[in-house]
Symmetry: D2
Subunit: 294 residues, 4 copies
């Protein structure tokens, strides 16, 4: 497919490379142009978001937050007016439910189609085309984007016809990951202070009821009190939980555990962890228990 690709951060670049590899024709746009230029096999470099969208069957956006996506869509030289009627905007970053709704309406007004398709997976998974894609939008639009999804991920889940449903699912999933960190931090503090070796505890858990990748990776970080490398920074983690709580408030759902996690992330930032991996908020749980990481 002819794809305009906007946003070449760690995740976006890996996804773009896989699209090129799968034979798609990419016109890439990135705020700092060099990142686009270094993309192997790219068909063209766009000077503006609008240029990336012109003539494309699909525009895929992979940006840090709502503000960044709003800027490339609605801002100066934004892609919204440039995208052809019938073409699809695929938004793969984690965005708010509110922005998903705004985009749904804005695209509909122009006869364009919108699919929210956020992904689960860290940069390594993106490189290996092993992402999980959560897609929501009209059936036909999702079907038309299949070749794109197949190039970047190992499996696509269609969760509904309203794009915001994919946002809700992605945010719900991110909350569940954060919750694994929080709950492991609490349980590990408990057993550590009773003298139990956290690695033994983790081994017990992950070889029995909790034999899931998320307990192995994040549980491992907590058990070893080691939050390297930094894949996703604390402020981005907090942003996701903030979006989760906002998505929940919109439909009147209290999420008390999400609120606990939010408080721990804020404490982490207050205590100097701006550049730490988001999972390091587990240290706040440990500190509150009088355990110190270093």
């Amino acid at each position: 497919m002819k794809v305009g690709f906007i946003g070449l951060g760690a995740m976006g670049r890996a996804m773009a490379e896989n699209l090129v590899r799968a034979g798609h024709e990419l016109v890439a746009y990135n705020r700092t142009r060099e990142r686009a230029e270094s993309l192997p096999g790219v068909a063209a470099i766009a000077n503006t978001p609008a240029e990336a969208a012109r003539g494309a069957e699909a525009v895929l956006t992979m940006l840090a937050d709502d503000q960044a996506l709003e800027a490339v869509a609605f801002g100066e030289a934004g892609f919204l007016p440039a995208l052809a009627p019938g073409a699809v905007h695929v938004s793969s970053s984690t965005i708010s439910v509110a922005l998903a709704e705004r985009l749904t309406q804005a695209h509909a007004e122009r006869g364009q189609r919108f699919v929210a398709a956020p992904v689960f997976g860290r940069p390594e998974a993106a490189q290996q085309a092993k992402l999980f894609v959560v897609a929501a939008g009209e059936h036909a639009a999702i079907a038309d984007c299949r070749p794109v999804f197949d190039a970047i991920g190992q499996k696509t889940f269609a969760v509904g016809e309203e794009p915001r449903m994919a946002s809700a699912v992605k945010l719900g999933g991110n909350f569940l990951i954060a919750n694994v960190i929080e709950s492991m931090a609490e349980a590990v503090a408990l057993i550590r202070k009773h003298g139990v070796d956290p690695e033994k505890f983790l081994d017990l858990l992950t070889s029995t009821l909790f034999s899931a990748p998320v307990y192995k990776t994040y549980g491992g970080k907590v058990a070893r009190d080691e939050y390297q490398p930094v894949g996703f920074k604390m402020p981005l983690g907090l942003k996701d939980i903030r979006l989760t709580l906002a998505a929940a408030e919109t439909v009147r759902v209290p999420m008390p555990v999400a609120a606990v996690i939010r408080d721990h992330m804020i404490a982490a930032l207050a205590q100097g962890m701006e550049n730490a991996d988001w999972s390091a908020f587990a240290r706040i749980v440990a500190r509150n228990a009088g355990l110190d990481g270093d």
Copy 2:
């Protein structure tokens, strides 16, 4: 081995049957004698806890709570004075860290040995000898009990030399299970109110990052809003969380998520769920979001 077996509830009976099946010689005691009499292959029925312990190499206790264990150990005709020096008391129910310490000392004073060996698994797992055993106590004592553990479980984890360490690990594990219920309840409320099918959400989770048994079973209950059959009643669930919080307080560990779960369980009891399965506290989360189970 010659084993005194005390406590023939759903879990205990299944474990006792497996011990008999594995060739151990059982003297069984249960408060209501009939449950002991109907145990196939039992060597003898004891009239008192003390009788069950007399001449045994090991006494295994599997009782509902601390009070029940205290009664058979320290109470009238309790087994403590009757157990031979060198013999082992294996406590397989979930008990408080405080009781684990009290028993450790009481047995030591009599030259007896004490192994805390709580188990993970619901009654079906017990029937199939598929429990996971978490053992703590002196190495030699644990080694001597291996034949017992092998008869009731699929794997034994030795987590330390102080019996209370097994209590802490078991309570930490139970908290993590309760946490799966709580976090799934919050996430499912979020996506349901955004119009997403909970079964699709669950399928997505359990076929990706959350592919662990605990998400399939408990997550399934939450996604289907179906808390049958009742394997473990609400008051027992609350008791476990209460013991977790007490074990954490003893060593000065705040566990805010455990506190959230405790509140939801108390609300469940306040709203008439005395006889519901403990996992049904997820309904409180749903009710707070304006979703009603029925």
Copy 3:
């Protein structure tokens, strides 16, 4: 003073009447013009926010939320471009710290002055000119507005030179009021279920350590389980707590009790209390305890 007055809701109208009574010359603007027309002694009715500001020494805004204030300030025929250099904008409604900062900058760019001066007090207090004014901004600007503050309130507290400081203080205060409701709801549920008469409990508290107006009024509502009349609706209460949490997040302050209150307000909205007084979220606390209001 020559004052442009924008926003004639229950609070605004009472304040405007007191300004007229104190001899100020008012040009009033309200979205629905009738409310402005019925104001006794008003000098003129403005057709647009801009008209209200033209020639005024001060513009006072008293609006429902950030959006409403943004509309009259920055929107079509907004007052921002119409206000003379040197004139003061006094914002008396509860606004976000973010909007306080945006206004500070926007006014500074035009050589105008900005004072955030939110008020404590319900409509009856406003009618009796008994509000408490919390002012922040340049000393001289606050001094110039004294006649306005004296006309509407019984006392003015200058809390700092940055307007956002008044927002933070007002939000902190509102949180403390909400906290009185929450904590009284928890304590009353406790003693009610132990058979104690809530009125007796309230009398004991308010005639001893808790002899403050806020315990008498809000504590009284909780003790009597009576949340009439509706002075301030639930969604506005939730908005205030949301702004508090946002103001706290901006400066990295976790506020776990504010988060608990937020959850109870969301639950209240989920359970149909859209039109209830904001203090009625105490009913959620009671419901969770199995107590039912009716």
Copy 4:
């Protein structure tokens, strides 16, 4: 009246002195006898709790916790068997609802009467006979104890006929005091990090809606970040919140804010505040916000 007085800590001693001053005949018992000997005007020193009760019309107990009261009542040479039928036991310390019930029954079985009469006030208030007495028990028993209550306090509140009701009220009240500390700590962190002077904030609050002693004293500690002198140590504060949560659990009442406070007190103990005044848990709130006390 002829009063056996048991427990001469800071509070107890001050109360005993006031009883002597009011003309009551005191037989005093204290675990460390010297504290009893130095009491001016005491009629006799008892060697055991039983001796203090023999011949007394009333026994008043003022002890650190449940365990201490259980020891002097039910333990060796305890006062329970020594107290005459018809005589009254007045328990003035903060005890659990469970112990209140146990004592109610134990005294009834012996034809004795039991009044729970915990007090509000710190040691200085006790010295000045300015305590507030919360009494529960049979009307006649309370009436008979009036001379005692009048000698130690400024006002007595009769809250019900079941002694445990006084425990519930006292615990509810203590929770409300702890809540003032918690909520002030959150609000002060918010405004401090926005650059507002906490003393100004406190002044504003206590001269308006929050003009109650508890905001002045505890709010003052928080605003000044000064938790001296140590009137009541952290572990005792935690004990009270633990009893509150237990009293609430008994009657199925979730108290999420009490749970937040409990976590902060546990964190305070984990971080070395064993000997700090209980109100110093406010520092945990500040630390979590990146503010450091020193």
